[in-house]
């Protein structure tokens, strides 16, 4: 038990505190009530950021920490969305047991998909997971299950319990998703810092060596996929609750690419990076859409390629690499400024 927080822990606490009072700050700044208008809109933006942040973080557990490149992560996100939608709408379950079964189904799904696709590695794994995700995408679109999934229209108007309805009780939904993202971050940090997490990183750095040291790498990769899959499924479930629907697009390639973008832009191999990336992408997408209209995905793609080419470590990675030299540079500049004022 530590009795002192480190500086980064203080920063995290300050961030969460800031996010807790954020709706009221906006409300004060705009003079509009917290439950409507501009404050409500920005709560909505941040809710999406929280949900996407968890999704991106789950992706980074696979890609950044275990070194597994998956192109089928939408599979878990979408299945989570559909599971909770179907359970709430057609089975009439309550939200608690629905979320619990999302977890159970995600565990089973990640184990099956993981066992099948881990027979290959590297880019083959990426292709195979892509194929699995596409299979579920096609099944979601299939007209055979229209009464359950709504086929290409998707599941509409999922009955979210009134106490956390994203339309009428938005502030409460905001705090629920904020709490969800915080808990998921703490859990993920726990996993990453545990001995299991160290083995995952060993697999990322040198799989052969990890297996020669006596670790059953398949087991650890399966653990990584399962942890990541459960987190993604929960994010998907919250996404369905927030949108009040689940359509085939949540299972599509676009969803996976989104996770990849957030992870790459934020910084691979850190937990906070992808969460930051989620915020950047959500806000950047919003502003690009405002300024450039329908052509914004094109700009987005170009920005993405430029980042991959010139900023491969993302925001957090580049900061970690350069922050020391930047700080030194600014310190030197401020010193020379002070000297200039002292002896002009």
């Amino acid at each position: 038990m530590r009795d002192r927080f480190t500086s980064s822990q203080w920063a995290g606490l300050a961030l969460i505190g800031g996010l807790i009072i954020f709706p009221f700050v906006i409300s004060l700044l705009t003079g509009q009530p917290v439950e409507s208008g501009v404050p409500k809109f920005w709560q909505g933006m941040l809710i999406q950021v929280f949900i996407l942040a968890v999704f991106a973080m789950s992706y980074d557990i696979l890609m950044g920490y275990t070194g597994i490149l998956s192109f089928g992560h939408a599979l878990f996100f979408g299945t989570g969305a559909y599971t909770i939608g179907i359970l709430l709408k057609h089975a009439g379950w309550d939200i608690g047991s629905a979320l619990l079964s999302v977890i159970v189904i995600a565990i089973m799904q990640s184990l099956i998909v993981g066992l099948l696709s881990l027979r290959v590695s590297g880019v083959y794994f990426a292709m195979v997971t892509l194929a699995f995700a596409q299979m579920f995408f096609l099944l979601a679109e299939a007209t055979d299950f229209r009464q359950w999934t709504g086929a290409e229209d998707g599941l509409q108007s999922i009955p979210v319990p009134a106490w956390m309805s994203p339309t009428t009780e938005r502030l409460r939904f905001y705090y629920v998703t904020l709490g969800f993202a915080t808990i998921m971050y703490l859990l993920a940090r726990q996993v990453v810092n545990s001995p299991t997490g160290r083995v995952m990183m060993a697999i990322r750095d040198n799989e052969m060596r990890a297996s020669v040291l006596g670790y059953n790498t398949l087991t650890f990769k399966l653990i990584a996929i399962t942890v990541s899959g459960v987190m993604a499924a929960l994010a998907g479930a919250f996404n369905a609750l927030w949108n009040l629907n689940a359509n085939p697009a949540v299972l599509g390639v676009g969803t996976t690419i989104n996770a990849l973008l957030m992870t790459i832009i934020g910084g691979v191999g850190s937990l906070i990076g992808p969460m930051l990336g989620a915020g950047v992408i959500q806000l950047l997408g919003y502003w690009l859409n405002v300024f450039f209209g329908p052509s914004w995905p094109l700009l987005f793609g170009i920005v993405y390629i430029l980042i991959v080419l010139f900023l491969p470590y993302g925001i957090v990675g580049t900061w970690r690499l350069r922050s020391a030299s930047w700080l030194a540079m600014w310190r030197e500049r401020s010193r020379s400024l002070i000297r200039f004022f002292n002896h002009p």
Partner: protein, 492 residues
Amino acid sequence: MIEWIQRRRGLIAGIVAAILFAIWASSQYEPRVLASILLSGLTLGALYFLVTSGLSLIFGLMDVLNFAHGTIFMIGAYIGFTLYANPRLLLNMLPFVLAFVAGWLLARWLPFSSLPTGHRRPLWVVAVLVGVFAVWGFELAPLATTALSSGGRVPTEQAQAPIGIFIARTVGLAIAGLIAGAAFIIGNEHTRQPAPRDLVLSSGLLALAIIIAPLRLNAEGWILALDSNARFLLALVAGASGGAALGGLMEWSLIRPLYSRPIYQVLVTLGLVFVGTELVKGIWGPGGYFMELPAWFSRRGPSCPSPNLIAWLQDNCASIDVLGRPFPSYRIFIIALGIAMFIGIAVLLRYTRLGMIIRAGVQDSEMVQALGINVRRVFTLVFALGAGLAALGGVAAAPFLGISPGLGQEFQLQAFIAVVIGGMGSFTGAAIGALLVGLARAFGDQIVLTGIQLPWMSEAMTFSPSIARASTVLIMALVLLLRPAGLFGKKE
């Protein structure tokens, strides 16, 4: 003997499965239905082959998984279709491309390489600014959509910039190319000595660009006045060469700097899918187009369908009689194209020097490099070849499947599945995988149409097309369980 069987366990199991499936299929369907299912399967297989062969060669040689291969397929379809229906867009863009390349080549001849390295970055910025300024306000979308939606034959003067401004833009792009070329040369030790042929080539290209600029109005009419067969052949050539150029450019500019970071190559190609799809949507619009069949494959009349292939050569009917059922003759053409390409590549790989280098490179590209062969250039060539094949497939698929921005995605997925089934890096594997997936799709479509009745079922079970499409993933899962490296892949 036993060892022989053990080593070829997979092959034998495959043959047995194929025979069992053939027995089941022939008991299920009458021969003429079976024949048309098989031909449909071959058609799809031929198209898949055009995508998978490039994908597999590129992966085998340089370990790059090109996620943008389906996008190139789609862009090839758009280029070919544009040339076929109304070449206005292409004719307007051609001088720009030529001028830029001419400027780039000219920079190699001028003594730019002696400039200090510090000039490099500012020069790039200037080149981009000049290029953007030169094409600013030049709208591609009206050139593409107005021409295409009105059936191709609209007055050519409309929607085209005045000649003076057009020439100015062309010259501007040549200057941008010159500056970019200079920026590229500075500090690049691998650049060879300036040769006079650069000057000749670049002035030739520039002259061509300037000549095309005023003639583009007439050229559009000339191309449209050709008969549809000639235009179709031109479309195939233009689509394939456009795709090859794009592929070569892509390898040279985006893939080559990243050979030390393999994962990032895949990520870049994924970004290109995004950019390519959005560009196509921006230029040609988000909706789809329908490409008409050329005259060779579209005649209808009292003598149709043609009784056999020889008769079809005479009467060019839209369909050919196969065991009493008409089968579209265009699909026969696709099959023939696929087979021709298969033989062509097989010959290239087996009997030419380039093919020898490629085969050696698949084994060990570093060794080939050490033997004094410029492997990087072979990489670019193979990338261009693969992309060209995919684009050719796109043009060939256009009259059969229609053209839309989503065309590539579907092919990409099925091609991935085919490659995984066949085994990455194996040319034969790519062909067999494509054929298997094509046949599976054809049987799936038939089952969607009529339902399936297995021996223990009292009545036929039906399902939707989506499930038929998803079922190929199951085949892939099965192959992966039995042989993780694919049917023809090497064990790791």
